[in-house]
């Protein structure tokens, strides 16, 4: 928290500026702006269809905003193709887990290092010395991350056979392997039970504190967001409804109205 507060004065790590997304005639996002500072955990909340995932997909370049801009450390990311987002430090997980099901846990995490390594098919085929050195570096890093997330026991297991909660941790490990500056987590608590959600919250905070990451959390689970986020942005019908500390947003009349409805409706 203090880290985040210190950073408030400096320029933002990520700036979303007036982003709109239109699909056909439907306005999915309408002029949304907010900023993220280094070391922050930002919670993005809103009812179903509020535009959370749309915004998320703009950040990972799956959607192109109709207008507005997204800046990472002052530089626009909107000219980059999706596969060149990982290399500038944006890592993500997916809402319904998008792992490589036929690969082992270790290979999944190894693919996570793709953006941080280089090779070509000829050197790879011949297993040249520099390729072997690169691979041993990758393996060292992967083992460190697996140990960090307590996945060593399943390192050689094929991912498709693992329980959902473990698969989510593998996805987190894969994202961490790319050394992201910002970690985008799309509903990490989805499908987890009460205890698992509690452990997850702890883990996200630890990743922020120990690995110096900034986290954008899109989440339905209000308890999780309110307990770990430093800053919350609430969306509804593609517009920003409120922004502030968890307490401020929770007390905001518009937010209460969006979630619970109001008497005068």
């Amino acid at each position: 928290m203090t880290q985040a507060q210190l950073a408030q004065g400096t320029s933002p790590l990520l700036a979303v500026r007036d982003v709109s997304v239109v699909f056909g005639g439907i306005v999915a996002l309408n002029g949304v702006s907010f900023e993220m500072h280094k070391g922050q955990i930002l919670g993005l909340i809103g009812p179903n269809g509020a535009g959370k995932t749309t915004l998320f997909n703009c950040l990972s370049r799956l959607y192109q905003p109709s207008s507005g801009d997204i800046l990472l450390e002052g530089a626009s990311i909107l000219t980059r193709p999706p596969h060149r987002i990982a290399e500038i430090g944006i890592g993500r997980t997916f809402q319904n887990v998008a792992l490589f099901p036929n690969l082992s846990v270790m290979d999944n995490v190894r693919v996570g290092t793709h953006a941080r390594t280089s090779s070509d098919i000829i050197s790879d085929s011949l297993r040249l010395a520099w390729v072997r050195r690169g691979e041993s570096g990758v393996n060292k890093k992967v083992h460190e991350i697996l140990a960090y997330l307590d996945l060593e026991d399943v390192a050689h297991t094929t991912v498709s056979g693992l329980p959902f909660g473990t698969q989510k941790r593998v996805e987190l490990a894969r994202a961490l392997a790319a050394d992201p500056k910002i970690l985008l987590l799309d509903e990490p608590a989805g499908g987890l039970n009460h205890e698992e959600v509690y452990i997850l919250g702890d883990l996200i905070r630890r990743i922020r504190d120990e690995r110096g990451m900034t986290v954008l959390l899109v989440e339905h689970h209000m308890g999780l967001v309110m307990s770990i986020a430093d800053h919350v942005v609430a969306l509804n019908f593609g517009k920003k409804l409120a922004e502030g500390t968890p307490a401020q947003v929770q007390a905001d009349p518009d937010v209460i109205k969006a979630y619970l409805g109001s008497k005068d409706q």
Binding site: F94, A98, F100, L103, V111, S119, I121, D124, L126, R127
Partner: protein
């Protein structure tokens, strides 16, 4: 050991043991290698020729395996790359008198180029549509090889006769035996390179694309580049296999490279086990020898018998030779435990 523990220890072996998923253990590899070296010493020339055929068709199946098993793209157009490789080798050897061992790398590189370029439009297609596009390539190739303006090199419909090379340095072995060992060295080298490739960063990128394109892209994998590279690599290796076939058969003709060949290679891949490289040679053995066996059972209905045999394989071991190998491994493991 309790039943629960049994399940836990055995479960991964059924799916894939990462390190061995694509290859054989070192012990098994050495036995297979020794067999491949020793058998021709005790065989007749015709059998040696068949073994050579086994090796280069196995190589072509391996190439398809890299494309389909590795990167998840289908191809019914492998016969086209095979034909191009065969023709490049034959034309260079016969019309330009270039030694055969120099023709093969040229065939490989040119076919890589053709495959890479063909991969560009194929990027927009996936699954059955990609299979159809490659089917079109396979259908077009025999006619392209018959084109009039190429006739002075290719020999047109007549095809081209290729001279079989002698053993060098006055080695005391028959042409067939020399060609077998030459083919064995080429195939082994390419097999090792392929295993290295699939275990490397590039290979992981192929498999990531096969499993989930969007996630692969989010991890920084250039999906378009790696898909076309997979096509290029597969076509290049198929081209070398085609070149080897031209030298071994001593003849190329347009109608040797029809869609039937592409379907045979596809069959070989499925029987050997999709994604399991050592299975390629078993798949090749199936497409070479099983039709003969079928003919031995019934001359008039050999096609039907072949169909029944194929059906049995698919029904009993849907994952092909790979499944048999895994079952064997588990059986051996259980014997050791008792």
């Amino acid at each position: 050991m309790s039943a629960v523990e049994d399940v836990v220890t055995e479960a991964p072996a059924v799916e894939a043991v990462p390190k061995r998923a694509m290859t054989l253990g070192s012990g098994t590899s050495i036995v297979v290698l020794l067999l491949l070296i020793a058998v021709p010493l005790f065989a007749k020339n015709f059998v040696i020729f068949q073994l050579t055929q086994l090796l280069y068709l196995g190589l072509a199946v391996l190439a398809l395996n890299i494309l389909t098993g590795g990167s998840g793209q289908f191809s019914l157009g492998q016969s086209a790359f095979y034909g191009i490789g065969a023709y490049i080798t034959a034309v260079m050897m016969e019309q330009f008198n270039i030694p055969y061992f120099l023709c093969l790398p040229v065939a490989g590189v040119l076919c890589f180029g053709v495959g890479f370029l063909f991969g560009q439009p194929a990027l927009r297609l996936s699954g059955v549509y990609l299979a159809l596009a490659t089917f079109a390539l396979a259908t077009a190739m025999p006619q392209l090889l018959k084109l009039n303006f190429l006739e002075k090199w290719t020999g047109g419909v007549q095809g081209l006769v290729v001279t079989k090379p002698d053993a060098p340095f006055g080695l005391p072995m028959s042409q067939d035996m020399w060609l077998y060992y030459f083919t064995l060295v080429v195939v082994l080298a390419i097999y090792i390179f392929s295993v290295n490739l699939l275990r490397s960063r590039s290979g992981r990128a192929f498999m990531a694309i096969r499993d989930n394109e969007i996630a692969a892209s989010a991890m920084g994998v250039n999906v378009a580049l790696y898909k076309t590279l997979a096509f290029g690599v597969s076509a290049g290796i198929t081209g070398v296999a085609g070149g080897l076939s031209a030298i071994a058969v001593q003849f190329v003709a347009p109608d040797s490279f029809t869609i039937t060949l592409a379907i045979q290679l596809f069959l070989g891949m499925v029987v050997g086990g999709v994604g399991w490289l050592p299975g390629s040679i078993i798949g090749a053995a199936f497409i070479i020898f099983v039709p003969n066996i079928a003919e031995g059972i019934s001359k008039g209905l050999s096609g039907a018998v072949f169909g029944v045999l194929l059906f049995l394989v698919i029904y009993l071991v849907p994952h092909g030779a790979r499944q048999v190998a895994i079952l064997g491994q588990q059986f051996a493991g259980r014997l050791r435990k008792n």
